[in-house]
């Protein structure tokens, strides 16, 4: 069902990817407990780590990077719509028009 000719990762590479995911999770938890050291950078760093894990799982485990363009468009479409909704609500919240 793969429309591209890029080879999928091997089981060994899947394990390596999972180790990276585990390390990223450990870094997240460490950041949570060292908030006093990283201060205002803690939350942006946590978001970067979560996005990295998201991209790794979607790209390699769900094989999106090996998939047909149409699949990518649909998936990204959902992501963009959700982010637009999130942005609108958060802008409203920040301007104190909401609740």
């Amino acid at each position: 069902m793969n429309e591209s000719h890029k080879p999928h990762p091997t089981p060994k590479q899947y394990v390596q990817i999972a180790i990276i995911l585990g390390i990223l999770t450990a870094v997240e938890v460490t950041l949570y407990y060292t908030e006093s050291i990283f201060g205002v950078f803690t939350n942006p760093l946590l978001i970067v780590l979560a996005v990295s894990k998201f991209v790794i799982v979607v790209g390699w485990f769900m094989h999106l990077r090996f998939e047909n363009k149409l699949v990518n468009i649909f998936f990204m479409g959902g992501m963009i719509l959700a982010l637009v909704l999130f942005s609108i609500v958060m802008i409203e919240r920040a301007s104190a028009n909401l609740f």
Binding site: V15, V71, M90
Partner: protein, 193 residues
């Protein structure tokens, strides 16, 4: 994700698979809405116990790790079925369902602890958004575990599993990985930030 191509499909991709991806796209909007609602109330002051006071981050971190590793076992099951290794695929499927069950047990334990500490669904609106968001995710994990067990049962039959069959391992794998990426976001947004 096998090397089959679909020249007879105008899109060049199997319609059922495209449908699965469209379904996942709608699920992004579903969880996107729940997360947005949760964040509206996050950080505001309400009467009652605050979530930060009842969190058990080490416990939730282990749960998150368990769910992440279930994505590994799922992708290994998929890899095995691509190589027509039925026996190994069945083992990895069972491992995935087991890890999913461990995650669910952890969530039930966590909710029970929160309840005993006074953080209930109705304590304040923040509590309501928390339980609705994490509860819906838990419901998705539960459905995923049921689907995995059914798939494992199919795999134990004489014909075994096939990537072309109606009960397709690939689609359930996509669903399972999706449930995992939702938790990746929830773990950061709900527990860590």
């Amino acid at each position: 994700m096998s090397d089959h191509r679909y020249p007879h499909e105008p899109t060049g991709i199997e319609t059922r698979k495209l449908g699965m991806w469209i379904f996942l796209s709608t699920e992004i909007l579903f969880f996107g809405t729940l997360i947005t609602t949760y964040l509206i109330f996050k950080g505001r002051t309400f009467d009652g116990i605050k979530l930060k006071e009842v969190y058990d981050i080490p416990f939730t971190s282990v749960s998150s790790f368990v769910l992440l590793m279930s994505s590994l076992t799922m992708v290994l099951a998929h890899n095995a079925i691509e190589k027509s290794d039925q026996e190994r695929a069945n083992i990895w499927l069972l491992a995935t369902a087991s890890l999913g069950t461990v995650f669910l047990a952890g969530q039930i334990y966590e909710f029970t602890e929160f309840y005993h500490k006074g953080f209930t669904l109705t304590v304040n609106i923040y509590g309501s958004t928390f339980y609705v968001l994490t509860g819906f995710h838990g419901a998705h994990v539960f459905i995923g575990v049921i689907l995995l067990v059914i798939l494992w049962g199919v795999g134990r039959r004489q014909e075994g599993l096939s990537l072309d069959g109606g009960m397709n391992l690939e689609f359930i794998a996509l669903y399972w990985h999706f449930v995992d990426i939702v938790w990746v976001v929830l773990f950061t947004v709900v527990y860590l930030i």
